[in-house]
């Protein structure tokens, strides 16, 4: 069996499962946030009764992150719904935006907080829940109804996905990052190329990636339609997890020769920086082939491209230089925000490097303009802006305005484009 099949088998009490089987799986973690939490709670209460108790308070994690720094009244009302529910149910893992506990973007915060453990299952009311497979968990996005069901029962009916295996070997060229790898893959297989499947990533290039970079890859599995992305845990994973949780866990691994639906091989040494042109993540082009595209705005943030290492990459490019266009920086979480101060390159903090480069005042952590959001959202587009963004989706209207054009790129490429004002291969200016 593959790692995905093994986790699903263990959590359903079966000794063997095969792709296509419909099985009841135990939820290790149920994750929700301010946009889907209130609806999930509404379904839970409607179906199980107003006095019902959640299946296990220890297994529910609520990380509000989407509409935090806005004057929108309903957005605040929604966080109040979460607060009332958390109080009534006595839920320990609520990271309230009004308090010291606030974290920021759920998919960056969940592993930071030690809630992601290899071999476990995570269901979240957000499509990018697939991120957490980077630590060897089975992790997938679900809707409010399924989440309401889990809240009451701790279980979900899951169809076992077939696995697509991506073997990435070779040495990463300079200024090529995990974001480029996943944009290459999605460009090759298409936005529905992995629909219903598990995307398993392996190979020496994956082994060499940091945990954050592995998260970037699994984060975008859903952009190819996948149910989950997954990477076998290694010593680095175990060290990362053990540093963040005292809970015990039992990792699982694919059997050698486990059956997969298809295998794809890449020699990453041959890959170059790429972008995804508007309006689909599979609309791949080499960054150097898009030099003619003039840029109005650069956005560095989100669960895909707003982690500390993403800002380190951007700072390496921007250090000692000035941006030519409006450049917006949104650290994903408070830990990342602090990292901008604590992390230095040649004695200068990342924050100092960015400020000297002339970026806009750095925003507090949240999803911000990654998904447009309420009208007053930081960085939201309002007209015909051309944006180079480290986020994950370039759909029409995704960052607000239906008329703006979004190019998805790595932090290197985004930073390089900020300096020149047109799409720029980072190797050209590094």
């Amino acid at each position: 069996m593959t790692i995905t099949e093994k986790i699903l088998a263990r959590e359903s009490g079966a000794s063997l499962v095969s792709p296509g089987d419909n099985i009841w799986v135990n939820a290790g973690i149920l994750l929700t946030h301010d946009v889907c939490g209130p609806g999930t709670i509404g379904i839970f209460q409607r179906e199980f009764g107003n006095d019902a108790k959640v299946f296990d308070p220890e297994k529910i994690v609520i990380l509000p992150d989407h509409y935090i720094f806005t004057a929108d009244e309903k957005a605040h009302r929604n966080v109040d719904i979460l607060r009332a529910f958390v109080k009534e149910q006595g839920l320990p893992y609520f990271y309230d935006p009004g308090t010291e506990r606030y974290c920021g973007v759920c998919h960056v915060a969940l592993p930071e907080l030690g809630h992601v453990r290899p071999g476990e299952t995570i269901f979240g009311t957000d499509s990018h829940t697939c991120t957490h497979g980077a630590l060897g968990a089975f992790s997938t996005g679900i809707g409010n109804t399924d989440a309401g069901f889990i809240m009451g029962t701790g279980k979900l009916l899951v169809k076992v996905p077939p696995t697509l295996r991506f073997v990435l070997d070779g040495e990463m060229p300079a200024y090529v990052s995990a974001k480029d790898l996943i944009l290459h893959i999605i460009g090759d297989i298409g936005v529905d190329g992995a629909t219903y499947c598990a995307m398993e990533f392996a190979g020496t290039a994956i082994d060499a990636l940091s945990i954050e970079e592995r998260c970037t890859i699994c984060n975008m599995a859903v952009e190819a339609g996948a149910k989950n992305g997954i990477i076998a845990p290694d010593a680095q994973t175990l060290a990362y997890v053990k540093a963040r949780t005292a809970k015990s866990f039992e990792p699982l691994y694919s059997d050698p020769g486990a059956q997969v639906q298809a295998e794809y091989r890449y020699d990453v040494a041959t890959l170059e920086p790429v972008v995804a042109r508007p309006h689909l993540p599979d609309n791949k082009a080499l960054a150097r082939a898009c030099r003619d595209v003039k840029v109005d705005q650069v956005y560095i943030g989100s669960c895909t491209g707003g982690k500390l290492e993403d800002f380190v990459m951007a700072a390496r490019i921007m250090k000692g230089r000035k941006v030519a266009v409006r450049t917006l920086l949104v650290p994903a979480t408070r830990v990342v925000e602090q990292g901008l101060v604590d992390t230095t390159i040649d004695g200068q903090s990342l924050r100092q490097i960015f400020e000297a480069a002339g970026v806009e005042p750095i925003a507090p952590p949240s999803c911000a303009a990654c998904l447009g959001g309420p009208i007053d959202t930081f960085g939201r587009t309002h007209g015909h802006e051309v944006v180079v963004s480290t986020t994950n989706r370039n759909f029409i209207g995704r960052m607000g305005s239906k008329d703006s054009q979004i190019y998805l790129a790595s932090p290197y490429t985004a930073a390089a484009s900020a300096l020149t004002g047109h799409i720029t291969d980072p190797r050209d200016i590094a």
Binding site: V35, G39, G141, G143, T153, L157, D192, T195, G225, F395
Partner: protein, 182 residues
């Protein structure tokens, strides 16, 4: 909705890769679908993310749609897990989507909520129909008929999720099989 329903009325025609931001833009995600008044509002914003070259979908004065059937191409509903997407279509009064293929979470949410039938066509329909054509879906014979000329287009049988759809959603199904209390 029982499985053998006939669905009849004008169709609204879309294309490939209709994503959840087109189905319901993020600025309306502050609405909570389980609050009845906000459920209705979500319906009035269904497909509000489409470029302005498309006719308005929820164009009835009360915020519902004159189109009970939505026709799409490949990968319908790709993107976010927001259940607001099938809910907006259902709340607007749409009964079924007929597409060549679906993004996983959208399909699942449609089935789990029982808001709309996510039906799969055996052939590409986006070019065979134009918005406003009258059509009829027969879920017993798995067909879609264009009423103007009687042309019949085969649909795929619903498959493994048929019992969930027949029960009327995830909770009804779970009660039926004794997974949760009646």
């Amino acid at each position: 909705m029982p499985k053998d329903t006939l669905i009849r009325g004008p169709v609204y025609v879309l294309e490939d890769n209709i994503d959840t931001d087109l189905l319901i833009p993020a600025c309306y995600l502050n609405l909570v679908p389980t609050i009845p008044e906000e459920y209705r509002k979500l319906g009035s914003y269904a497909l509000a993310g489409l470029p302005d070259s498309f006719p308005k979908f929820a164009s009835n004065p009360d915020g519902t749609t004159p189109f009970p059937i939505v026709i799409g191409g490949r990968n319908f509903g790709c993107g976010s897990s927001r259940e607001h997407a099938p809910i907006a279509l259902g709340a607007a009064g749409a009964k079924a989507v007929v597409a060549e293929s679906y993004a996983r979470i959208f399909f699942r949410n449609s089935v789990a909520t029982g808001e709309i039938f996510p039906l799969e066509s055996q052939t590409r329909l986006c070019e065979a129909f134009k918005t406003g054509d009258e059509a009829e879906i027969d879920m017993t014979s798995n067909t879609l008929t264009r009423l103007a000329d009687g042309a019949v287009f085969p649909l795929k049988p619903i498959g493994a999720v048929a019992p969930v759809i027949a029960a009327g959603g995830m909770f009804a199904y779970a009660r039926e099989i004794g997974m949760i209390k009646k």
